[in-house]
Symmetry: C2
Subunit: 428 residues, 2 copies
Amino acid sequence: MATYAEMSEDQRRAALQEARHTYVGFCEAGLSLNMARGKPAAAQLDLSTPLLTQLSTPEDCFSEDGTDCRNYGVIDGIPEAKRLMALLLDDEPDNVFVFGNASLTVMHDAIARCLDHGCLGSTPWAQLPEVSFLCPVPGYDRHFAILEQFGIRMIAVPMDERGPDMDEVERLAAADASVKGIWCVPKYSNPSGATYSDETVHRLARMECAAEDFRIFWDNAYCVHHLHPDAGRQDRVLDIRRACIEAGNPDRCLKFASTSKITFPGAGVSAMAASTANLAEAKRLCGSQMIGHDKLNQLRHARFLPDADALARHMAAHADIMRPKFELVQHVLGEELDGLGVGCWTDPRGGYFVSFQGLPGTAKRTVALAREAGVVLTDAGATWPYGQDPEDANIRIAPTMPTLDELAQALSVFCCCVKLAALETLTA
Amino acid sequence: MATYAEMSEDQRRAALQEARHTYVGFCEAGLSLNMARGKPAAAQLDLSTPLLTQLSTPEDCFSEDGTDCRNYGVIDGIPEAKRLMALLLDDEPDNVFVFGNASLTVMHDAIARCLDHGCLGSTPWAQLPEVSFLCPVPGYDRHFAILEQFGIRMIAVPMDERGPDMDEVERLAAADASVKGIWCVPKYSNPSGATYSDETVHRLARMECAAEDFRIFWDNAYCVHHLHPDAGRQDRVLDIRRACIEAGNPDRCLKFASTSKITFPGAGVSAMAASTANLAEAKRLCGSQMIGHDKLNQLRHARFLPDADALARHMAAHADIMRPKFELVQHVLGEELDGLGVGCWTDPRGGYFVSFQGLPGTAKRTVALAREAGVVLTDAGATWPYGQDPEDANIRIAPTMPTLDELAQALSVFCCCVKLAALETLTA
């Protein structure tokens, strides 16, 4: 079969006619489907129902070190919660600071502390004429929103299947002292699903930085979020903190994780791992902001997921629910779009997203067409700083929230809109 | 009986001898007691045990508007939690923003937003050469710690039983545009227990402020924390927001409250009430920091305390536990110290503290002596900005955490140390 671009003008007109006809049919069906955000499905939430009943008496509320988790105190988390979060963060419990229900808040506040107080004695970033961040693209819109709100300049760096373009990252970090950090989703990246290669991790750890207080914001949001329970089909990522220590830059990284997509997105536990110096500074500065986070919820989580085996079993149950959805994405997109030259898409082994790269100039139109037909997608451009994808080509597909039936429908609509937008562009 | 000051030198020497003897006895007893912080006792925490079991099935996890509280979303809180927190905040549910487990965090972050972004279009405070706050004294050490951390200059203003000295507050607010706010604990104030008079509230609301973005940080931490269940023996405070609206300054106040001393200090729910404009700005700025707070905990709280009657009954049970402790403080201090001229103390009708005003120059010594004898008190000076009480006279007594027996012991030690410190000063 010829791609749309290779077709004769008449063939393309016929294809456009057909796509429009199909599209009108979808519009008339009055659908209301959502593939916009990486939200777990209700069936996934049900897996954590036992979390609700871990604590029911006053006696249940004491941590292993005798702390009454109902009362004030323990700013950096109870021991068993540190152990659980250390599993996610691939670090030592002693280097873990347990926070509240959202790693987004932890990351936002970590940047706010850099701005207000600097890092380990450096000038507060807010007092500098310019602060810049490297933003691998496509990336996570909420990371970019934090920087935008604080007026931090974002520099897009392209991603490939091994992580960000390290030649470019090294060049920018070495050349420009205003470059203070980089956002990284190192495993099953949002949205591409790529996992950083060992070389990428080592180069990040050892690269020369013009800013002595350069920080790697290592958002390991999908650390245990595999689509396959067998280890051979799971990605692994080197630990950035160990790499930083080996490279002689022990304070360079701040690692973040949460149970949001493990237990309950709205009521999980988040944490940061970092060097002893970074943690001590965070603890000191956080002392004016908080007395302690929700230790009862920490205790619930630690009792529900007491060790690595329990965690792995729990994540395998998630995978059983998610895997068919990701397989359906590959199947439908393959059936509908293969060979048409209208785009390509990733086939991740974990995480929450498939990244679709359409023809230049078609992403916004595709998303608008889908919305019109009752299917909400992530806004086109959201995967780029300032919401501006210079090629207007990238769309993030989030297949987890709908049921399989809904997802099948939504994907059909999506493919139809991709075709329509491509044909409109090619016949214009 | 003569006061220590009125005694002859010989009489004072004898009294000092006796106090030293008593003190040595306490030291030899090897006590370990704590009256440092306003922590509820275990018996109070037990009152909220039903909170633990409000939610046990997936079906339990839906709010009244159908939100699955396990999943992401709803940045400003579920409707039933807004209603509960509106009861505490004496405001409308529509003007309430529900947050996480700590009002300290909400207040810290509110100030951080003013610094980074200004208020409703004003210059970000961090960009100004100087920012100052009015700090009624004695006051809450954690309020002062936030300001100190952000480099905000603190101006102490004396408190009396009607609230801060309003002549002084009005003078400073009108004269100095760097004065951007005031900390207020309007009801059963920390530590004096004073409740602001109607006149104080109205003057705060209508006073002329050189800074157009002056903000009253209204920390109503003890809003329903009466020591007596009968209304006739409870303080009432006028609502500052209504007063601000009437005075034509609707955006002047930010109100804060939490369930920390109602349910579980470590796992409660906090909230802010403010004008529609202030709330819209907070919601917009918080959008980069959070997707939503712990809605399951919000739901637990709303189900456990569904209305004003349930709340009143619950607080009456707290009062039954706390009242004997506050009565014991009055009794022991009266028995031991009355007539000696070594200090005076408050007799609050609610809240968590008794404020003790000793002779100038004795507070630090008293606290050090008590610590040596195994009784931990709040650090002397903590009730003043920068931890510096210019008279070295004020000590905060927090009688809630110990049992009655422990409290009796701790108070005996405290009184002995007060006498000793006073006599040391007078005989020096």
